[in-house]
């Protein structure tokens, strides 16, 4: 167990920058997820921490020890690859004890570790099977067992659940959380699946173009996106964005947009008082736009707009509706029931002004952000 500090890491492939002065601190025993779109450099970052990829500039410090130039086999990291990379010619048992044998651990100790891991990951009885003779879920657990028996300083997981079906993935998420609670190892988990990131991690580092867009708790990331990119990437379906201008109506400040005037709550309204006339990008989550029948009590901050339904997309228990207002602006929102909501129908929705986000259209930053916090 150890803390992990990445200092100003640079990594280039030819002209392509994969890590751009990337700095990140992960506490001892923390579960951190690297989240980001495909190709943003998540795997490369993990491989640099593991020592499989050279670092162009910057430092990797794990548990106070400088790791930057240490070869992979001398680092005490364990890694689970997306493909699991089990040794196909070795039994489950030999796969799990491979690393212990290399470290010349005493045979009695090896047996203890093996039993411990087999029990914890429900692998009993599979000792003598080859990887091709077990299921995908079991392979994933063997890969995890093989990593855990090594007592790594840090456990690196590269999309370990992406090969599992939805049901198995849910159990695996629970199991992984349990294991982390029991073992307490520092975990760096890579995924581009938001649900995994949101449910498991203590903190999420959102990567984009080799940089960290935001490093925060899942709640914070969802409720207070620091940048337009975060706002767009986190949350599903993704946020609506409109152009707007800060203006003052009566005694409160709000935003004038193509879909109408949006009021903010009092606190935030006060903070933008001085910005009258400033252009902003308004972000509203589809979940924060209410179909009128669903709101029992209207609030002062609710804006009221009329839309013509363009498209109804069934998402199981809920539906995503795309509506068009009189000015032609498209608005996406969620409803829980879909009867009568057919394309062409006119409906009235409310936008909760307390939940809207305002961004600077040039800097792409949340305008309520102060000194890196919101």
């Amino acid at each position: 167990m150890a803390d992990v500090v990445l200092k100003s890491l640079m990594k280039r492939y030819a002209n392509h920058v994969v890590a751009d002065r990337l700095t990140l601190t992960i506490n001892d025993g923390e579960f951190v997820t690297l989240l980001g779109p495909s190709g943003c450099g998540k795997t490369t970052l993990l491989r640099m921490i593991a020592g499989l990829e050279k670092v162009d500039e910057g430092e990797i410090v794990i548990g106070g020890r400088r790791y930057t130039d240490l070869p992979a086999q001398k680092r005490n990291c364990a890694m689970v690859f997306q493909s699991y990379a089990l040794f196909p010619h070795m039994t489950v048992r030999n796969n799990i004890i491979f690393g212990l044998r290399l470290k010349k651990v005493a045979p009695i100790k090896i047996e203890q570790k093996l039993t411990w891991a087999m029990n914890m990951l429900h692998l009993k009885g599979l000792e003598e099977r080859l990887p091709r003779q077990i299921s995908g879920g079991q392979r994933q657990r063997v890969a995890l067992a093989r990593a855990l028996v090594l007592d790594p300083d840090v456990l690196l997981l590269d999309e370990p659940l992406s090969n599992l079906d939805a049901a198995l993935r849910e159990t695996a998420i629970e199991e992984l959380k349990n294991i982390h609670r029991k073992v307490g190892t520092t975990i760096i988990y890579v995924t581009h699946n938001q649900i995994e990131a949101m449910t498991m991690s203590e903190r999420i580092a959102l990567l984009n173009n080799g940089r960290i867009e935001q490093y925060d708790t899942p709640r914070q990331l969802y409720d207070h996106p620091a940048t337009i990119f975060t706002a767009e990437f986190v949350g599903s379906p993704s946020m609506n964005f409109f152009k707007g201008e800060i203006s003052i109506e009566g005694r409160t400040a709000g935003v004038r947009t193509s879909i109408g005037f949006l009021r903010l709550n009092k606190d935030r309204s006060q903070r933008i008082m001085s910005m009258e006339g400033k252009e902003v990008t308004v972000g509203i989550r589809p979940q924060n736009i209410y179909y009128v029948e669903h709101v029992a009590q209207r609030r002062y901050t609710d804006a009221n707009i009329e839309l013509v339904i363009e498209l109804v997309e069934n998402m199981g228990d809920r539906s995503l509706i795309v509506g068009k207002d009189s000015g032609g602006t498209l608005v996406r929102f969620m409803v829980t029931r879909e009867e009568e909501l057919l394309p062409g129908r006119t409906m009235r929705v409310f936008i909760d002004g307390r939940s809207i986000h305002l961004f600077d259209p040039l800097l792409k930053l949340n305008i309520f952000r102060r000194d890196g916090t919101i």
Partner: protein, 286 residues
């Protein structure tokens, strides 16, 4: 047996498909077994079954006899020659694998500078016919004092086999996912440990094929063995011994020697062939 019994319940389509298959297999067997049959037949033929004086040669010898084998196995020189061949072939396999497998790994896995030139150099060994390269090579062997030694013959055969071992080996290593190597080094294995505990076991099917090929090459080789053992009868290999039987009487001695020549090859191939199982690496990468 089930194979035949169940065909009654199958559709005519399936039955005719099966018949075509069986015919194909029989034909293939005939092509493979035909020459072997001829060889064995001649080796156990008596004189009148070979020299028939105009009458057609019988399908099966008139009076089958093992007498010529008796003669062969009573010849002490034959034993020495058999021993030489086995020794040289096995040593050639050992040397070729020892040198060729690590080379195949490095050349197949790493983009070392000058890789293409090295590969070209290796291939070029086989660009000349043996009969053209034998003189300069033997010259060189004489120069370093390696002629008329077993090591000389073994080295010359290794030279001939290495390009094949390296190219077959490269193919075998290339199919192994890089992630297995990465995984091993993250788990604490150095390059050498990764090589022998992960990569070699997974390359075994390909390497086994290379070993069989090398054994055969050495076993069959004539020209280099001829020049390098020239004047040393006791160092002869089976091909050279066979060469000495060109004009020998009885005529079936040649056939019997050929049979003896084939048996170790078949035995070696069957032994090594067990490692040529397909799909050894399945299950590692989903």
């Amino acid at each position: 047996m089930k194979f035949f019994c169940s065909s009654a319940q199958r559709s005519p389509m399936a039955v005719s498909k099966r018949i075509i298959w069986m015919t194909g297999i029989l034909l293939a067997m005939l092509i493979i077994l035909g020459p072997i049959y001829l060889l064995v037949k001649y080796s156990i033929s008596d004189g009148p079954s070979i020299t028939t004086g105009g009458k057609p040669i019988p399908f099966w010898p008139l009076h089958p006899t093992l007498s010529v084998y008796g003669y062969l196995f009573s010849d002490r020189h034959f034993y020495a020659v058999l021993g030489n061949s086995v020794l040289i072939a096995l040593m050639t396999v050992a040397c070729s694998m020892l040198l060729g497998v690590p080379a195949a790994y490095i050349l197949g896995r790493y983009k070392i500078p000058g890789r293409r030139i090295v590969l070209l150099g290796i291939i070029s060994v086989r660009l000349f016919p043996d009969i053209a390269s034998v003189i300069p090579i033997v010259e060189f062997f004489i120069f370093v004092g390696a002629h008329q030694t077993y090591m000389g013959v073994i080295l010359s055969h290794t030279l001939l086999a290495l390009p094949y071992v390296i190219f077959i080996g490269m193919g075998a290593f290339e199919t192994i996912p890089h992630e297995l190597e990465d995984q091993a080094s993250v788990m604490g294995a150095n390059r050498f440990q990764t090589f022998y505990s992960v990569l070699v076991p997974l390359a075994v099917p390909g390497l086994a094929a290379a070993a069989i090929y090398t054994f055969l090459l050495s076993w069959d080789e004539f020209i280099f063995a001829y020049f390098l053992t020239f004047g040393r009868q006791e160092m002869f290999t089976l091909t050279l011994y066979l060469n000495g039987l060109k004009y020998a009487e009885p005529q079936n001695l040649l056939a019997a020697t050929s049979v003896c020549l084939s048996i170790p090859v078949i035995a070696f191939s069957m032994l090594v062939q067990r490692y040529m199982i397909a799909g050894i690496s399945s299950g590692s990468i989903k």
